[in-house]
């Protein structure tokens, strides 16, 4: 199978069915909400979880996109420095695969050319965003998010004080989530990028959303910070659909990088419960 076809098939699947890690987070969240659904806020939040699970069943059965906002493609290409496949071919395979999936899986055409003036629809949901990242070796791994914009509009960047420590991080994430409230289709997934520069932290926050939600951060300090952020966010009582339940977020993943002595850039990428993602590993096929 050609690489472009592999990409297309992964994208056709991703728009209809959630990955198993995301699904298990939603099921766990539902159980958590059910335990405490004694008041009307909790009960309504629980109804949101049930609607989500019912929706996923119908999407699966009818091969319909689970959400009409089929998102903007955000690709992350981890390209081996010695990979024999040249970037121009990879780029072509991504564009061809994405275009094919848009047509075959009934993606909504949600991309416009000019952001300010004409806002003319490109009619094919392209161009995708492609982040290129060089890694060691000869391999090639392509990962992709279908990024919905109800949640993207609630994502944010904060330039924190360098001496703020974990408290400043937790407070900033909570503030961003609180401002989003019911808008990003909670329960939500949070990608947190810390360090680098302003734009680099934003990139890291997106990349963090790709991590398997069953796996905690490799560094125990950051793994604990992920847990602490999640616990703090749950106290906001936004809940499913913003109805005030106890389960606002389903998972927090952090990616961090070296930064400057004068700063601690922090970005939060908010994703709705429909945390659609896919991974395509190149196995020597043609582009």
């Amino acid at each position: 199978m050609k690489l472009s076809r592999k990409i297309s098939e992964a994208l056709q699947e991703a728009v209809v069915r959630l990955p198993s890690d995301v699904l298990s987070c939603i099921r766990q969240g539902r159980e958590e909400e059910a335990k405490n659904a004694s008041d009307v806020a909790g009960k309504t939040s629980l109804a949101v979880f049930d609607a989500i699970l019912e929706n996923l069943k119908i999407a699966d059965k009818n091969l319909l996109p689970m959400c009409q906002d089929t998102g903007m493609f955000v690709f992350f290409v981890d390209l081996g420095r010695s990979c024999p496949l040249v970037p121009s071919k990879i780029e072509k395979a991504i564009n061809e695969g994405a275009l094919d999936a848009v047509e075959k899986a009934y993606y909504r055409r949600s991309v416009v050319t000019d952001p300010v003036f004409t806002r003319k629809n490109t009619q094919n949901n392209l161009p995708p965003i492609i982040h290129w990242n060089l890694v060691d070796g000869e391999g090639l791994t392509i990962r992709v998010l279908l990024k919905g914009f109800g949640s993207e509009n609630c994502s944010s960047v904060r330039m924190l004080n360098p001496t703020g420590g974990p408290k400043a991080v937790i407070d900033a994430v909570c503030d961003i989530v609180r401002l989003g409230g019911g808008k990003p289709c909670p329960p939500i997934f949070l990608g947190v990028g810390i360090g680098g520069t302003m734009e680099r932290s934003a990139y890291l926050s997106k990349r963090a959303l790709l991590r398997d939600a069953r796996i905690a951060h490799a560094d125990p300090s950051y793994a604990k910070l992920e847990e602490d952020i999640l616990a703090a966010v749950q106290t906001l009582r936004i809940g499913g659909g913003g109805f005030g339940g106890r389960v606002t977020a389903l998972h927090v993943a952090i990616e961090e990088e070296p930064t400057h002595i004068a700063g601690m850039p922090l970005s939060v990428s908010i994703n709705c419960w429909a945390d659609r993602k896919a991974e395509i590993v190149w196995e020597g096929e043609d582009a």
């Binding site: 959400c67 906002d69 055409r109 808008k183 109805f243």
Partner: protein, 174 residues
């Protein structure tokens, strides 16, 4: 769960309370960002609207394309807050029910109280679920807007939660 027929009867509208879960059946307009901007401009310029708003409901939504055998693709709600600058003007014109997701501005809440209107929240992201409730679709205006065109839907048992009732009581104010 309580079933409500659209266009909504006055007695139904006034009796619904925040957090009530309801199934809607009947006809509802569909319009989001560009439709709101255009209807607002037409009203500001004293021009005729392509639809009658009095007594009607509008759903903030932009569907994905319909596969063969379906009247419409995935069709869950979009974020209502973006319609806030335009909503009070439409309510003043006689629109009675708005369906979307997420909180509304103070100005919208005041307008809901003033006009005895209703704001319902659909389940965010549940596009396939809502597709299964759509019986008929008609494009009424602005077809050039593609997924943002002004539609008329006929729905059956379309699930929503009352988010702001006609007294202005909101599920979001805590």
């Amino acid at each position: 769960m309580r079933k409500i027929q659209l266009p909504i009867a006055e007695s139904d509208l006034l009796s619904l309370r925040a957090f009530d879960q309801v199934l809607l059946s009947g006809t509802i307009y569909v319009g989001r960002d560009q439709v709101h901007s255009r209807l607002f401009d037409l009203l500001e310029n004293n021009q005729k609207l392509p639809i009658v708003l009095q007594g009607q409901a509008i759903y903030y939504m932009g569907p994905s394309p319909a596969p063969e055998g379906f009247p419409l693709g995935a069709c869950g709600p979009t974020t209502s807050a973006r319609m806030d600058p335009f909503a009070p003007r439409l309510l003043d014109e006689g629109l009675r029910v708005m369906v979307g997701k997420g909180p509304r501005s103070e100005a919208v809440i005041s307008s809901i109280i003033r006009n005895r209107a209703l704001y319902l929240q659909a389940f965010g992201g549940c596009g396939a679920l809502y597709a299964s409730t759509v019986r008929k679709v008609e494009t009424l205006a602005f077809p050039e807007l593609g997924p943002e065109a002004l539609l008329l839907l006929e729905v059956e048992d379309f699930p929503v939660v009352v988010a702001i009732d006609s007294n202005g009581t909101s599920v979001f104010s805590r």
